[in-house]
């Protein structure tokens, strides 16, 4: 995601291939000035650590006003007014006074709300949320998820939510892509994926989770081996070293992402239900 909106410094990072089409334009070929107009205005991002994402020596108000002035060309008074509305919209009480606070005076949940307010400043059509609730407690996480769902409804924006929490995403997303070692290995509508996971990694991941609403004393499935090291490009399927269905072919050829049903795509040579190759 960071590559897509060109936030990875180049060098050392490098985009070697591909396109990223946003409203008919390829983000990867835009000039630095053009991408800057997209970023923060049409595509906004919220981050995992609300403390480090804010500048600690500027007030929250100052940081909310800046994009309003830069992207929307508002004057200070208009920007102040709008910033206040935004803080109110994300559920921060006494918005006017809180604008003069520094980030450390906010609690973790409030900081995350303020960051969401900052992301919404220019009315983006796409919001990229990078594990925005990982650092928060569950009751606060529930508040933030509720807020984001409400804003999605009200503002009609699209959201890409990056997370490792398969529970959280189940109640939030419409579609889901599972990634492993830099590859999308499975992609499906949310209910389809949880009901009929296909890729061995997705299946193991779902079986490794305990469920809040059951006492079932089945043993948690553990995925043997270690998460991949991304230094060497694998010559075959990246999951092969940890996969229990692995075959000859998996070591030699990288499986493409292909449809197995309408809207359900999988990158695997094997059908785990039969244990046989399905391609």
């Amino acid at each position: 995601m960071m590559s897509m909106i060109r936030l990875i410094p180049m060098p050392p990072g490098k985009i070697t291939a591909g396109t990223a089409m946003f409203k008919g334009r390829d983000l990867l070929t835009l000039s630095d000035d053009e991408i800057r107009d997209v970023r923060g205005a049409e595509i906004a991002m919220i981050y995992q650590e609300p403390m480090t994402a804010f500048n600690p020596v500027l007030t929250v108000g100052r940081q909310l006003i800046e994009p309003l002035e830069i992207h929307l060309g508002m004057n200070r008074r208009q920007a102040q007014q709008r910033a206040e509305e935004l803080l109110g919209m994300v559920g921060i009480p006494n918005a006017r006074e809180r604008l003069n606070d520094y980030p450390h005076q906010f609690s973790g949940g409030m900081r995350q709300r303020a960051m969401i307010a900052m992301a919404l400043v220019c009315g983006p059509q796409l919001l990229i949320a990078d594990e925005p609730t990982t650092a928060l407690d569950v009751t606060i996480q529930a508040q933030i998820v509720d807020l984001v769902k409400r804003l999605r409804e009200e503002l009609g924006m699209a959201i890409i939510w990056i997370t490792h929490d398969l529970g959280l995403i189940a109640g939030l997303a419409h579609r889901i892509s599972v990634m492993y070692a830099g590859y999308v290995i499975e992609q499906a509508p949310i209910k389809e994926l949880y009901a009929y996971p296909f890729h061995p990694y997705t299946i193991s991941l779902l079986n490794s989770l305990p469920y809040l609403d059951s006492n079932r004393q089945r043993r948690l499935e553990s995925i043997d081996g270690l998460p991949p090291i991304l230094l060497d490009k694998p010559t075959g399927c990246a999951f092969a070293p940890r996969c229990k269905y692995v075959r000859e072919r998996c070591w030699k050829e990288i499986p493409p992402l292909i449809p197995i049903d309408i809207n359900h795509h999988v990158a695997c040579w094997i059908d785990p239900r039969s244990g046989k190759e399905h391609l």
């Binding site: 009751t139 508040q143 509720d146 529970g167 209910k191 490794s208 469920y211 609403d213 948690l220």
Partner: protein, 324 residues
């Protein structure tokens, strides 16, 4: 139920806040743990859950006397640990050990795995030299690591493997009580299950008793026999796993359980969330009466005036709330 291994009675731990350079004076107190009472039975796993800053880790550390309590009693194997000092306390410590949260910070980077695991054996004069080495090899095997790794350093291992080293170290003295302070929260999802399964196997094999401190309620339900819920330094509810998850009594427990997502989109669609407003108040100035009243949907006048008593509502199911 079976025999009580550890009794915690009216445990209080305050941390003073000091001002001044030479003449330091106390200007306030962090009420980290405020009058906590519970028992742990031999062979069980008691879960201690709550949100960050609620005092669950402090409770665990105070039990092991890593912090000295401000008041209260901690009776372990018949002795009140609070009265013990020096050698007498050290002898008790053999019987109770800890597994720490961060497998990166809790292992000395300059010591080999062999040195780390054999240190408790040497310090307590149980084994040294070849005998200690043989014991380390046995422990490595026990936690599922290759005994040949004995001369490697912690940085050569992954997070999950390091947590296994920490577990081996905790088991070196053959303890009866192990305090697990968020032992899996620093690990990848796919690795968490490995460590949880290992802890379960070791418990069956060695008859260990765990105090399992965690914030992941799904995992706690999976691992624990009984569960205690903490909020701002007090235990608000304690009960058997089934009772606590199926019929939670305290409004905080109800909100907490309803906030935990379930990895099933169909169930998530049908669930009703109880959303709490606001944040946890500061433990420096906790609310009067019931600690939870500032966020509680049921709060009434009595909640501000009186601290609710910790009452047994049905056998083994305790709750501290005026409104239940």
């Amino acid at each position: 139920m079976s025999e009580v291994l550890l009794q915690v009675q009216n445990l209080v731990k305050y941390f003073p806040i000091k001002r001044g350079i030479i003449f330091k004076r106390e200007v306030g107190r962090v009420h980290a743990v405020d009058d906590v009472t519970f028992d742990i039975y031999r062979g069980e796993t008691l879960g201690l859950v709550g949100e960050s800053g609620c005092g669950k880790s402090t409770t665990g550390r105070t039990i092991l006397q890593l912090y000295r309590p401000s008041s209260g009693r901690i009776v372990f194997d018949g002795d009140n640990l609070v009265d013990l000092q020096g050698e007498a306390l050290r002898l008790k410590r053999r019987r109770m050990q800890m597994i720490f949260q961060d497998p990166y910070a809790s292992l000395n980077p300059r010591m080999t795995v062999g040195e780390i695991i054999s240190e408790p054996l040497i310090v307590h004069g149980i084994a040294k030299g070849q005998k200690a080495e043989a014991e380390v090899m046995r422990l490595l095997g026990l936690v599922g690591l290759n005994p040949a790794f004995i001369n490697r350093f912690p940085h050569e291992f992954s997070g999950g493997q390091r947590q296994r080293i920490g577990i081996a170290r905790a088991l070196a003295l053959n303890p009866s009580l192990v305090v697990c302070d968020e032992p899996i929260s620093a690990l990848d999802v796919s690795i968490q299950a490995q460590v949880v399964n290992l802890l379960g196997d070791l418990q069956t094999q060695l008859g260990l008793t765990y105090l399992f401190i965690a914030h992941d309620l799904s995992m706690v339900r999976y691992i624990c026999t009984r569960v205690a819920v903490m909020y701002l330094g007090v235990i608000v509810e304690l009960g058997n796993r089934e009772d606590l998850y199926e019929t939670p009594l305290h409004p905080y427990t109800q909100a907490l359980i309803s906030a935990v997502p379930i990895p099933d989109p169909v169930k998530e669609e049908q669930r009703q969330r109880i959303l709490l407003s606001g944040d946890v108040p500061s433990p420096i100035n906790p609310p009067t009466g019931c600690r939870f009243r500032t966020r509680c949907p049921l709060a009434a006048d009595v909640c501000a005036e009186q601290r609710p008593e910790f009452r047994e509502m049905k056998l083994g199911h305790w709750v501290a709330c005026h409104k239940v």
